[in-house]
C-alpha cells in the first residue's frame, strides 16, 4: 500500500461524520413532510420501531430469531457451496477433462439471476428451508468454483513439477502446492460469493417464509410499515457488512503469507 489510508481514529471520525450527516438529511427530509410519513419514516420512528420489535418482536417473531434464520440460511447455502465448490473448482483447474465436462454448466449458472429459477426450486425442493438454501447454494457455487479453477491456473507449473519429481503424490501436490497458491484467488471468490448469497437472501424469503429479516421487510412492505422496512434494511446492511468483515478476518488468518510469496 503506497499510502497509509488515513490513520484509524481520523478515518473513523470522518466516517462517523458522514454517517451522521446522512442521518440528519434523512431526518430533515422526513420532517419536511415532502414525503408522506407512511411512505418514509423518520430515524426517530425507526428507532421506536426497533424498541417495539425488541420488546414484542415483529408479528410474533423476535428480531433475534429472524436474524438467526436469515444468517443461518445464508451460511448454510454458502457453506455447502464452499464444501462442494472449492474441490470442484480445483478439480476443474487440474483436470482439463473435468473443466471441459463441467465448465459449460458453471458458466451458464454464474450469470443466471437467482430469482429466475426460484419458482422451480420451490417446486422441486418444497416450501421449507430446502428451496431457500438451494437458491443461495446455487448462487454461490459457480462463483466459488470459477475462482478456485482460476486459482489453480495461477499455480506456477514448475512448482508442481518440482513437487512431483520430489516424489509427492497427487493429493500431496494438491494439498501442499496447489491449494496454498490458489488460496488468494479462492478467497476473492468466497468474498464475492458471500456477498452474492447474502444479497439473494431476501429473494429466498420472498415466498413461503415464516421468518427471517427478508420476510420481515417484505411483510412490512405489504402493510406499508415504512419504519419496519427501513429498520430491516439497516439491519440487513449491518449484518451483510459484518459477514463480509468476518470473512475478511478469516482470510487474513489463512492467507497471511499472501503477498510474501
Amino acid at each position: 500500500m503506497h499510502k497509509t489510508p488515513l490513520a484509524g481514529p481520523v478515518a473513523c471520525l470522518l466516517s462517523a461524520c458522514s454517517v451522521a450527516a446522512a442521518l440528519a438529511t434523512w431526518q430533515a427530509l422526513a420532517a419536511s413532510g415532502a414525503v408522506a410519513p407512511e411512505l418514509l419514516a423518520s430515524p426517530a420512528q425507526v428507532l421506536s420501531a426497533l424498541a417495539e420489535i425488541l420488546r414484542e418482536g415483529y408479528r410474533g417473531t423476535t428480531l433475534a430469531h429472524n436474524a438467526a434464520a436469515t444468517i443461518g440460511r445464508c451460511l448454510t447455502g454458502f457453506g455447502l457451496a464452499v464444501i462442494l465448490g472449492v474441490p470442484l473448482g480445483l478439480l476443474m483447474g487440474l483436470q482439463p477433462r473435468a473443466a471441459a465436462a463441467l465448465g459449460d454448466i458453471v458458466q451458464f449458472l454464474r450469470p443466471l439471476p437467482p430469482l429466475s429459477y426460484m419458482i422451480l426450486l420451490i417446486l422441486w425442493f418444497g416450501t421449507g428451508d430446502g428451496s431457500k438454501v438451494a437458491l443461495l447454494f446455487l448462487t454461490a457455487l459457480p462463483i466459488i468454483a470459477s475462482a478456485a479453477m482460476a486459482g489453480v491456473r495461477l499455480v506456477p507449473r514448475p512448482r508442481i513439477l518440482a513437487a512431483r519429481s520430489l516424489g509427492a503424490g497427487f493429493w500431496q501436490v494438491v494439498w501442499h502446492v496447489v491449494l496454498p497458491s490458489a488460496l488468494p484467488s479462492i478467497f476473492t471468490g468466497l468474498r464475492i460469493a458471500l456477498a452474492a448469497a447474502f444479497s439473494t437472501v431476501v429473494a429466498a424469503e420472498l415466498l413461503a417464509a415464516t421468518d427471517g429479516l427478508g420476510w420481515m421487510v417484505l411483510s412490512a412492505s405489504r402493510f406499508l410499515r415504512s419504519d419496519v422496512i427501513l429498520l430491516g434494511i439497516l439491519i440487513l446492511g449491518v449484518v451483510g457488512m459484518a459477514l463480509s468483515r468476518a470473512l475478511l478476518l478469516i482470510e487474513r488468518r489463512v492467507v497471511h503469507w499472501h503477498g510474501r510469496a
Partner: protein
C-alpha cells in the same frame, strides 16, 4: 478464458450435455416427472416457438429482450462509470475513502429486493427505479475494485514519478490509473454479473416488459415451460455478455500494457 481447449477434450464437453439431455428426455418421457416440475423437450420447443412467433403478452420476444438489455446497459454503464470514478478518488485520497466507505460497504451486500418499495416511492414506476436498482447494484462493486486497484499501485514507480517532478494529476494519470486498470476491469466484469443477476428484481417493479418480468409472470401461472425458456435465454445471454466483456477487457489491457 485461457487458451482454446485441445480438440481431444470436446467429447467430454459434448458428453455432459448429451448425458443431461438424455436424462431430461428419459425423466420427462417416462412420465416420472410431471410437466409442471420439468417440462419435456417438446413442451419447451413449442413454448419457445410460440414465444418467438407470437411474443409474450402483446409484445414480441425481441422487445422484451431489448428492454432487459437496455436496462442492464444503462444501470451497468452508469454504475460502473460512477463507481470507478468514486473508487479512484477513494483510493487516491484517504479522507474521501473515509467519507464514502461506510455507504459503499453497507450497500454492497444489501439485498436489492429489500429496498424495492422505497425505489417506487422515490422514483415511481417507470424506467427510473429499475435502472436505479441496477445502478445501485453495480456502483459499490466497481468502487471497491477501483479503490483496491489504486492502492496496489507500485510504490517505487510512484516515488520515481514524483521525484521526476510530475504533478499530482500526471502521477494519477500516468502511474496510478494504468496500474489500477486490471482491477477496474475485473470490477467491471463483476459488476456486470451482479447487475445481470439483479435484473429480475428490477423488473418486478411495475412490470409488463422485459425477460425478467416475463419469467415472473409465467411463474405465477406455474408455466414451467415458459420459465425454462426464459431461464435458458437469460442464461445464454448472460454468458454472451460476459464473453463480450472479457473480449473488451483483453483489448483494453492489451492496449494499456503498452
Amino acid at each position: 478464458m485461457a487458451a482454446p481447449e485441445p480438440p481431444h477434450l470436446w467429447p467430454w464437453r459434448v458428453g455432459t450435455i448429451a448425458v443431461l439431455a438424455v436424462a431430461w428426455v428419459a425423466a420427462t418421457g417416462s412420465g416420472l416427472v410431471p410437466a409442471v416440475f420439468l417440462p419435456s423437450p417438446a413442451d419447451l420447443w413449442d413454448s419457445g416457438v410460440d414465444l418467438v412467433t407470437e411474443g409474450y403478452k402483446d409484445r414480441p420476444l425481441l422487445d422484451h429482450i431489448g428492454f432487459s438489455l437496455l436496462r442492464v446497459f444503462a444501470g451497468f454503464g452508469a454504475g460502473a462509470l460512477l463507481g470507478t470514478a468514486l473508487g479512484l478518488l477513494m483510493g487516491w485520497r484517504g479522507w474521501i475513502d473515509a467519507l464514502f466507505a461506510p455507504f459503499i460497504e453497507f450497500l454492497r451486500p444489501l439485498p436489492q429486493l429489500a429496498y424495492l418499495l422505497l425505489l417506487i416511492i422515490w422514483l415511481g414506476i417507470g424506467e427510473a427505479p429499475k435502472i436505479c436498482l441496477l445502478f445501485l447494484a453495480a456502483l459499490p462493486v466497481a468502487a471497491v475494485a477501483a479503490r483496491d486497484g489504486v492502492r496496489r499501485a507500485d510504490l517505487t514507480r510512484l516515488a520515481a514519478a514524483r521525484t521526476l517532478g510530475a504533478s499530482e494529476w500526471q502521477v494519477f494519470r500516468h502511474v496510478v490509473l494504468p496500474s489500477a486498470l486490471p482491477d477496474i476491469l475485473i470490477g467491471a466484469r463483476l459488476a456486470l454479473g451482479i447487475v445481470y443477476g439483479t435484473l429480475i428484481a428490477a423488473e418486478i417493479i411495475a412490470g409488463s416488459t422485459g425477460l425478467g418480468w416475463m419469467i415472473v409472470d409465467a411463474g405465477r401461472f406455474l408455466r414451467s415451460d415458459r420459465v425454462f425458456v426464459g431461464v435458458l435465454i437469460i442464461g445464454l445471454m448472460g454468458v454472451a455478455l460476459d464473453r463480450l466483456l472479457v473480449l473488451a477487457e483483453h483489448r483494453i489491457v492489451h492496449w494499456a500494457g503498452r
